[in-house]
Symmetry: C2
Subunit: 332 residues, 2 copies
């Protein structure tokens, strides 16, 4: 591949002039410009991005670190990040941390060595102290307010409130909550939202809360355990959609009917919820918008610098579908 010296030679000018033409800065006589452009197109020259990066310490590369792209919540996020990045001339490196702090740190170090310009970190496990070594621009997803980094979140608390109230409105008399892991911020907020609604009900009992990881398998066991313990439960608010799907499977396996015997609502709004039967009610996060906002925020920090950490919280919306439709409000 042709380099800048080849072009300079062919055009009969110096490399500096070629550089000026390519970057459209400095003075260049019209006739020279034409000569250079001719040489450029004849040699099919385009500047070596590595060499450029070595100079300006910018690679036009963003890192996206997430627990697991295989978790259906993340592909849409990744897509948003990639698209916005591309629109701004950036490229996206995808890293799976499997939720491991170690992996996260490895990835961050790698991205630093490779001179990534910034990082979007969607992490369960991150603790602030571990990050302080890094001075790369970084935007956090789902991490809550934080003095050093901007962050993007959905309103998990109010979403949980909506979900729980929705179950009540549908006529549920005893609502259980399958919560996510105790150390995950979003799970904690959703749990708090649930509690804030039901705490003062006469049927409320701490045993109605059971913890599970954000996946289907564990949710099945948890649900069975829950319903064995108390068969008067007629509503479940699951901390995310994958858990909710686990509920649905467990419920079906013991022969109960959804939503008549028991209503189920999830959280996240992954597309799967629309594909399963019965269709799952859920609290939808504007995932794409969140990824978009995170990326724009990051790019802005990279390009114009950061004044202060921003904390942006997105509203969630209730999607009412079959799995909670005890009152037949949905007409297909």
């Amino acid at each position: 591949m042709a380099n800048i010296r080849d072009v300079a030679k062919k055009a009969g000018v110096s490399v500096a002039t070629v550089s000026r033409v390519v970057n459209k800065n400095g003075y260049v006589k019209k006739s020279t410009l034409e000569k250079v452009n001719k040489a450029i197109s004849e040699l099919n020259y385009s500047p070596n991005a590595i060499a450029v990066s070595l100079n300006n310490k910018k690679t036009k590369t963003l890192g996206l670190i997430l627990p697991d792209i295989t978790n259906p919540f993340f592909p849409e996020l990744a897509k948003a990040v990639e698209e916005v990045a591309n629109q701004n001339g950036y490229t996206m490196i995808l890293c799976n941390s499997n939720g491991l702090l170690e992996k996260e740190m490895e990835h961050i170090e790698m991205l630093e060595r490779k001179y990534a310009d910034g990082i979007i970190l969607a992490s369960d496990s991150y603790t602030e102290e571990r990050l302080k070594g890094t001075d790369l621009p970084m935007v956090l997803l789902d991490r809550g307010v934080n003095p050093n980094h901007s962050s993007i979140t959905a309103n998990n608390f109010s979403g949980a409130v909506m979900a729980t109230k929705h179950l009540l409105k549908q006529g549920c008399k005893k609502i259980a909550h399958i919560a996510g892991p105790k150390n995950v911020l979003t799970a904690v907020d959703r749990l708090k939202g649930y509690q804030s609604v039901v705490r003062d009900s006469n049927w409320y009992d701490g045993d109605l809360i059971i913890h599970a990881n954000y996946n289907t398998k564990e949710a099945i066991t948890a649900t069975k355990k829950l319903l064995e313990m108390d068969s008067s439960i007629d509503g479940i608010f699951a901390s995310n959609d994958l858990i909710a799907i686990g509920c649905l499977k467990a419920i079906r396996s013991i022969g109960w009917k959804v939503p008549d015997d028991i209503a189920v609502i999830g959280f996240d709004g992954i597309s799967l919820t629309d594909l399963i039967i019965p269709q799952l009610s859920t609290i939808k996060q504007p995932v794409y918008e969140m990824g978009e906002a995170a990326t724009k925020l990051l790019i802005n920090e990279i390009e114009v610098g950061k004044k202060e950490s921003l904390f942006k919280e997105f509203d969630v919306t209730l999607i009412h579908r079959e799995s909670t439709d005890k009152r037949g409000e949905i007409n297909e």
Copy 2:
């Protein structure tokens, strides 16, 4: 961040010596090595990957271009690629082409400029001629044999045969096929597999084949059309799982029962098939293994060079679940 000259100065040696220590090549006296290592750890030095790349023209970066990470088939592939890449010290750039040739070419050019070491291309739309400008190592997914590039495929034809025969064995008397787009290779192979089994049946008719894109929405319309046209159809082989899910929804909306009135089988084996109700029978591709193989092949081509193009075809497996279980073979 400290650079090699800082380390050299601190250790009282030349940069060449530091480089030798870092890369463990050439001769270095034990005492010198210790001095240098001390300086390295004190300064927390790690070599600038950009500068290294500028020298050896290798970035330890792979590009993965795929139509849409949002399509549930791809996250697992992406994960495999990322994991294998990481294990070998590579990093993965993810690119969505949205199935557009233009976008694909843009991404390839960008990856070239950024000195990616190789590309894994999972493409529907690619045509050989467009690619000939590139001399980057490249492995193709789902593209069939090809003189210039190695490729990884699943055995789509034999999978389609398995699916169709499975429906027959379950007692289906008239099997329709919802095929994927005509210009997509995998879709064509699957169609051929279907035809090879049913061609000579007395009930066979070209109208039993209908085309749809690889998504749920179109599949719903297609299914309804199909069943309106011929209500004696009692089995559908869908060209992929997303289409199959569309079938399920359409069938349900007209009040038929799966699998009693009609059996449905998909293709791909995405995890969704296990989560929906009824659980979907499908032909499972070993997606992770395919991504793994593609990445290993690519890295091998990058590091040891390529002798010839390899064409590796993976076997698929039938997963028999509720959606085709007309004979009650499955005991839960």
